[in-house]
């Protein structure tokens, strides 16, 4: 038996040492647990939706209840799972380590961010448990302010509160990355994971406040019958949409940029090859963050904004695809002639690249004004964004969790089960969402609990896929938990990867480093050809 050394996991026991921690690594774990809980809740609502859609008739639940199901699914998944997921868990854990420092710039604000997140989540749960919201996660007015008979206020306030968790996280990351880098860690030696989170943080700071003030106005209007967004009282519902989407479009880049950062790390580590086009990937992260703010009107092509504005937003939406494409090309070039290992992180990476590409390309369909007239508010749109958010973001999140699991917990997960789960996720995902492209194109509207019988076959395929997908997500929850107790101890660098996080123990000590590291080489400084004795052999539990 090895002597138990003091790691961040056993440095302090008891609830207080976790709930009052300032250690970014412990805060990351607090987030990991809460985010997983919200994922399960959001998944439950998805299950309700897919169950209803097994049959054309609206027979499982009333339309009002169905409206609540897809609304709660969206609200929980967007605000309480996807937006925090990678930044609050992997970002919080890894950024200080990757840049060679002891903690984020503001550890107490980091803890505060988590408490704010929990408070916002509590409001939303209260809303759900008192009967839920039925406005769609988009809270369009005047339905949300005047007509809806559901718990809009609590949900809106929950979103408002949670927004500040996001803002404070972004603030923390920006200051940390600017001011806390280790000696020698110049901007262009930073891991691309850090660049991705820097770009994400810019969006969090500049975008989130706008939705914050907007939901506050919605809450005020609902409470006092003001008329800011209600046409009957002189208000303008299109103004609400402008304000809402000004944040919510960049928000989707908050959801994908960190995922891209993870993929950049995985693609290089799992092929043991220096990433192709480092500067291009770093620059494209910033470009995506900036361009992402220029295209919000593409959610409003049919809402009544001016045709001229629609034309401009359509053109800009085509442009925003370019930096994403640049990333995909660079990842592919990295894979080419790389020493590819087929472990779970790599499987998720390959899944990401394929599915994100499909999702991104279908985005171009949506960006096209004429075509969007036909497919807007149909399942085509639903499929498009799920390809990116689930096929993209969640796959990257899973890949990242697996990749860094040994570092975070000091344990190895069971590789065979991980590969099976990755395969189930891939198959389940495509079976769930590809039919939705078809049925959407054929005209099935979204947010309807009943549909014409000719669409049933696609819906059944989709629901079947969703069950497989669900299993694919459930299995890792079990083996990750299992590994904490029964998994093999992980070495410091099980993947033989480059990066400061792999030069410290697994799990790390509270201060991360025994002495201040000094960086002297580029990121991903793999030798031209790495053919050591472990070449091609995965490290398995």
């Amino acid at each position: 038996m090895e002597a138990t050394s003091l790691t961040y996991l056993n440095n302090g026991h008891g609830a207080a040492s976790w709930l009052l921690t300032r250690d970014h690594k412990r805060i990351a774990l607090l987030y990991l647990i809460s985010i997983t809980a919200f994922f399960v809740i959001g998944g439950f609502f998805a299950m309700m939706v897919r169950l209803e859609l097994l049959t054309p008739a609206g027979d499982l639940m009333s339309s009002e209840t169905y409206n609540k199901m897809f609304t709660m699914h969206g609200v929980v998944m967007v605000f309480f799972f996807l937006i925090p997921s990678i930044p609050a868990t992997l970002g919080n854990f890894l950024i200080p380590i990757m840049i060679g420092t002891k903690d984020l710039a503001f550890p107490r604000i980091n803890l505060l961010s988590w408490y704010i997140y929990i408070l916002g989540g509590a409001f939303t749960l209260v809303s759900a448990l008192s009967g839920g919201v039925d406005t769609g996660w988009t809270f369009y007015t005047p339905y949300s302010t005047a007509a809806a008979n559901s718990h809009v206020m609590t949900a809106a306030l929950g979103v408002f509160i949670t927004g500040f968790s996001s803002i404070l996280t972004g603030l923390n990351f920006i200051v940390t990355i600017h001011r806390m880098r280790a000696p020698g860690m110049t901007w262009f030696r930073l891991p691309l994971f850090v660049w991705a989170h820097y770009a994400t943080s810019l969006i969090m700071i500049l975008g989130t406040p706008v939705i914050a003030i907007t939901v506050l106005m919605v809450a005020a209007e609902r409470a006092l019958h003001l008329g800011i967004f209600d046409p009957a009282l002189g208000g303008d519902p299109v103004l609400f949409q402008h304000l809402f989407w000004f944040y919510s479009h960049p928000a989707v880049y908050i959801m994908i940029l960190p995922a891209m950062g993870v993929i950049s790390e995985l693609v290089t580590a799992m092929t043991r090859k220096r990433i192709f086009g480092y500067e291009f990937i770093a620059a494209s992260s910033l470009l995506i963050a900036v361009f992402g703010f220029l295209v919000w009107g593409h959610h409003m092509f049919v809402s009544g904004q001016s045709t001229y504005a629609g034309f401009i937003f359509s053109a800009l939406s085509f442009l925003v695809a370019i930096p994403s494409a640049i990333k995909v090309f660079n990842w592919m070039a990295t894979l080419y002639k790389g020493s590819v290992s087929w472990d779970a992180p790599m499987l998720y990476t390959l899944g990401f690249i394929g599915l994100f590409t499909i999702g991104g390309l279908t985005g171009l369909f949506c960006a096209s004004l004429g075509l969007d007239l036909h497919i807007t508010d149909t399942y085509f749109i639903v499929a498009h964004f799920h390809y990116i958010m689930v096929g993209g973001s969640i796959m990257a999140y899973m890949g990242g969790l697996h990749f860094w699991w040994p570092k975070i917990t000091g344990k190895l997960y069971p590789e065979w089960w991980a590969r099976v789960s990755a395969a189930l996720v891939f198959v389940g995902f495509n079976l769930t969402f590809f039919p939705q492209f078809i049925v959407g194109y054929l005209g099935m509207p979204r947010r309807y609990h009943a549909y014409p019988p000719e669409f049933q076959v696609w819906n059944v395929l989709s629901s079947a896929g969703a069950s497989i997908l669900g299993v694919g997500y459930l299995i890792p929850m079990f083996y990750f938990a299992w590994s904490m107790r029964y998994g093999k101890d992980a070495p410091a660098n099980p993947w033989k990867a480059k990066g400061l996080e792999w030069e410290i123990e697994s799990p790390p000590i509270t201060e991360n480093f025994l002495t201040q590291p000094i960086v002297t080489e580029e990121a991903y400084a793999y030798a031209a050809k790495e053919h050591g004795p472990d070449h091609g052999k995965p490290v398995t539990a």
Partner: protein, 124 residues
């Protein structure tokens, strides 16, 4: 990779921070005086009708423009001198500029309202 170092090369290129430069008191008083004058001007200007010249088919409310220009000048004085941005690191100046650009971007929403009817059917 794990040497311990007391002062890093990075610290040597640290840009001058606000506290490195103490703004002389007369500057503060001059700025304050300017702000008072501008406040007086903006109140007076509100009593004068500066007209609505038509540019590119839209009526420009000159009073609003004047008020905003004055307010922007006052704000700039506060930012540059009271908040020391004139003497601050480039990064801080970039953040100030960036916030203004992003605010302008949000306000570009007004472009939607202004361009209704430019293409397509009237009212669209």
């Amino acid at each position: 990779m794990t040497d311990f170092v007391d002062s890093s090369p990075a610290a040597a290129h640290r840009e001058p921070e606000p506290h490195d430069h103490v703004v002389p008191l007369p500057v503060y008083y001059a700025v304050f005086a300017a702000l008072m004058v501008l406040t007086f001007v903006t109140v007076q200007a509100a009593h004068v009708d500066l007209g609505h010249p038509v540019v590119l088919g839209t009526k420009i409310p000159m009073n609003v423009i004047a008020a905003l220009l004055i307010a922007f000048t006052k704000a700039s004085l506060v930012v540059l001198f009271f908040m020391h941005v004139k003497y601050s690191a480039r990064l801080i100046q970039l953040i100030v500029l960036g916030s203004l650009v992003w605010l302008a971007l949000l306000l570009a929403t007004l472009g939607d309202y202004a361009s209704r009817g430019w293409l397509g059917n009237p009212g669209t």
